[in-house]
Symmetry: D3
Subunit: 233 residues, 6 copies
């Protein structure tokens, strides 16, 4: 099986679904994280965007090794992902190139405009990816489902939980691999940082989700297509 | 595995989840339908309640044979199921007697008062069934989950679908086994009958649910505990 | 009275509200279906878009004859309808040209990007159509209401039902008039096709909606302005 | 046509739907207000409950004359309406005695326990009233629909509006007929009084609802069965 | 100011709102925890209910000292709190006896039947407590507001957060004071125990709520009356 | 403290939150209303847009004097505000120029496209305004919160109320200062006018909101970040 997480910035996949990605990789699934941008806004005023981009790409690759997954980078600009027919077509082609069975991406109501736009691009591309007359470089492909990730709000209320108890420490390691980012968030905060102690917050969140399902740590997902099962379990 | 559907009246289980029950029975699971009442209101004014109760119990047993499941009857009065501590305790003991892994019952917002009360009794009993100090005849028991069934309304919006394409005809046969009821509903309608052609309506509903999930016929469920999965699929 | 359905692709009006359109036409109302595109993506890789567009325009006209309604075609590209001030102004002018009392269009949360964009363009144009300073070729016009159509999901939950029992077979005929499309959907599926037997699925849906309202077949709508009535009925 | 409003206390019908009742009466419909109680809690500590009950019954009858409607009084105790099988059966018989086409009653989520219980009793009785085996003094009867009334909250969001512009002053007169109550509410407040100037508040509410529908004054309703219409309008 | 938390069982107040209670006590507010029951079901089969009740009352008093608050015990039976007019009147009198400005209690949709019933009893009593004709031992009294507490679910979504960062450790100490319960929950679980490490789970929850508000630890509340403020802040 | 209301058209701030603005100004807070456009569509066909813009700017300034607040005008075209990266960046710079503690703007689901786009631009700009690498003329700045304003619909349900009883008449005066608009709305209606008597409608709305909170007149807000409080009150 092949999972592809398509996220806006380095560390988005690690924070939102790093445990699930590591778990799938561990049982032998192919797992790819596609980063829309290199997160070049995530730095202080004493660095250039190019320097930050290079640092964050490297950190993303290190984190990917920690999780046992592969990476790919599209070339959108951080903070400037837009919804256009051209960008939508590029994501169609991205889906057709990687040919994942399962796609993970941001939830539609996320507060970050890049997350929101990524969610919409991936969702619409998903529907178009199988149509033969939507022509791109790669051949048509239809993933089975999309699972959305996000921060709990009244509109993001997970329908599906994955037990990541045995992968929580690997997830935390992968987040720590984003050294520049952890450092910068502690100092500066910003759109994705709500509290100085990032790792503790992520762990508390996984524990809180886990508690609702009787496991130690969990990650939560909202599927595009609701759960169909051969038998109740 | 053992499934128990606890429903208010004969034919409720058949209509709401007959395909799923037949499917589980077919793979060798133990399946029990517990009827709270014998549905003695479901008749015309020229019969006695006792006659109707006898007829409907027999029809429920015939339908159960069709589906390959077992039946049990509690002795509540049709149209008069009440929520009381005593009744709740009786349902605790019913759960402990049958010891199902999975419980199916009515959804909380169902319009029929008997369905609503059954839903609440079963849900509260579920939580109490494992407590050693809640003493009843049988030993404590903790089912894994409850799956609720109901008619689609804005508040009953299924989270889980079971493909019953191969069991739709068996389901329809089981509904037809409730001869007195089908006949009575065609003539009379009432709280559970919304249209004269019961079977066609049930089939349309299963097809409509199926379409949303890409299968021919489906039944939909709202689980008490949301779906936890080892891996996304 | 004049109804205008403004939909993205040939067959959208027929599937979502064909019975209602036929019923209004039958009592002498003027009914127009405005197609934003000619649905040129709805074909296999062995045909050109131009060929498909020509075929589908012809099929739409045939279906319109079946329903007793008129058609008009705007020249948007299938799969590429965008929200822009210019497109919005064009829809303002479309409303002013046709001068409908009632407008039907897609629901805002539809999964198809063309449906979603059409919904937003029509809704915003509706509000601007009456403003004298919004200048277009035709004179200002204010329709009374918009009724949205869509596939049942938790967010599309009809508030208004139209009994189409006597028009269900005409609706099915009109869908069958889209020969190329029915054929293609059976083979190929895609964003609008959820199951191979299109007609049976549409009929099941109308029956399921009808059952909730005590009629044989119904179509459901969400009005922009809620129902105001002189008297309760 | 016959409308029956079944409400918990004198003045409930006048405040929630007095304009609509007056309008229906004015076109010749039979309109009955059934009061579950005589509102004997609505007084100060220097009066007896019996005195208040007598005063309020008289005021309700005066208000009914103002509106042109009839009254009936059941004998429940104010603040002590309970849900029981016996009370439900009594309401079944009340429906069968008055035989209304349309029933109006409180919304299920009203904060006043008497309103909530009345809502549930009337709703469940509505479903049972047509069943021949549910035996009461009067013959089976099936009203067409229930329209719920209530104070706007997130859960009471009207689906249907009635234009009462020409009946607003009659409605206000009917409220003023509850002299003891208006006086008492100004002094004392309590569960039904949210502001000292009752009439102005009621008028503001009707104006606010009216504005959403383009009329001067309106009352809003949530129907049990959604609106089915022969034609869109 | 006087806060009263009215909760079903010993440890409910500590877990749901212990930090907020300690904080108010610390600034000199009077804080009372009223326990509906002594939680006598929270024990193993080798103890009697009376023994457990005695132990838990003592633990609740110890925890109250830790938090700096007072306790009171009503004499309802654990697992058997019912909604009746008599019980509602008793809670009216409880409110009038303690005369709190602010009441805290369980949220209406809590899964535990005792929590749900307590929520309804307290809410309805709140509305009746100010009515002079609702006669009880103590004089009429009107609290300002109710704040509901509960476990996060789709329906319990806090509107108000209290920063308890400086009281988190005191809260944890108070939970640990329920020695018998912590021990029993680790062994046995049950309706209130979702994971073996109670304290870590509670801390994760407070941290997760805190993160959404930019503080280290928080507790969340749903107010009966929404927030009214003299000025935005 | 500094409040800035960023609204699409002259009179939007006055109608939606004029009482709150006047109240804050009155206690000495700095209050700025930033108008995205000069509302040049709000006139008849016998005037030019330039004339209307000039008139409405003047009226906005007069109204601002009445309320005791300052004004600023951006140069977007009425009816044509678009979401683009450039416009978003301009609003980032607007926030950084005015440096408000609290921002007020339109609610996301408002029916007017300009209101909706303004809401989205302001919300996204709010998140970006603090990031040092998002470079604009002015220095980074982080407001504390956004409060959204809108017309009550099922999705705009206020969480926070401000008592404006003492400022209602000043609010009405400020609305009357928009002479051209009041006149035009009475004649013509349009997207923002739902009833001919604008002032009475606004007053009814404030009274209706006030009633839910026990004050004479109120305005309602939905905050971006929910209410955090040191102590319950």
């Amino acid at each position: 099986m092949h999972l592809a997480a398509i996220v806006a910035h380095p560390d988005d996949a690690e924070i939102f679904c790093g445990g699930t990605l590591a778990k799938h990789a561990d049982r032998g699934d192919k797992v790819t994280v596609v980063y829309m941008t290199r997160g070049e806004y995530g730095g202080g005023s004493d660095t250039t965007k190019a320097e930050i981009a290079a640092t964050r790409e490297q950190e993303a690759n290190t984190a990917a090794e920690t999780l046992g997954v592969e990476t790919a980078f599209l070339d959108y600009e951080d903070g400037r992902i837009t919804y256009s027919l051209e960008n939508r077509l590029q994501i169609v082609d991205t889906l057709r190139e990687h040919r994942p069975d399962i796609v993970l991406t941001h939830f539609r109501d996320d507060m970050h405009p890049d997350h929101r736009t990524t969610s919409r691009l991936v969702t619409d591309a998903y529907y178009m990816s199988s149509l033969p007359l939507v022509e791109t470089v790669n051949e048509p492909w239809e993933p089975q489902n999309i699972y959305y990730v996000g921060k709990p709000t009244s509109s993001f209320d997970p329908d599906v939980y994955v037990d990541i108890s045995e992968y929580q420490s690997k997830k935390e390691d992968a987040i720590r691999d984003h050294e520049s980012q952890v450092e910068w968030l502690q100092e500066h905060g910003g759109i994705d940082a709500e509290f100085d102690d990032l790792i503790e917050g992520v762990r508390a969140q996984a524990r809180t989700l886990g508690r609702t399902r009787g496991v130690e740590f969990a990650e939560g997902f909202v599927p595009l297509h609701k759960h169909t099962t051969a038998y109740l379990d």
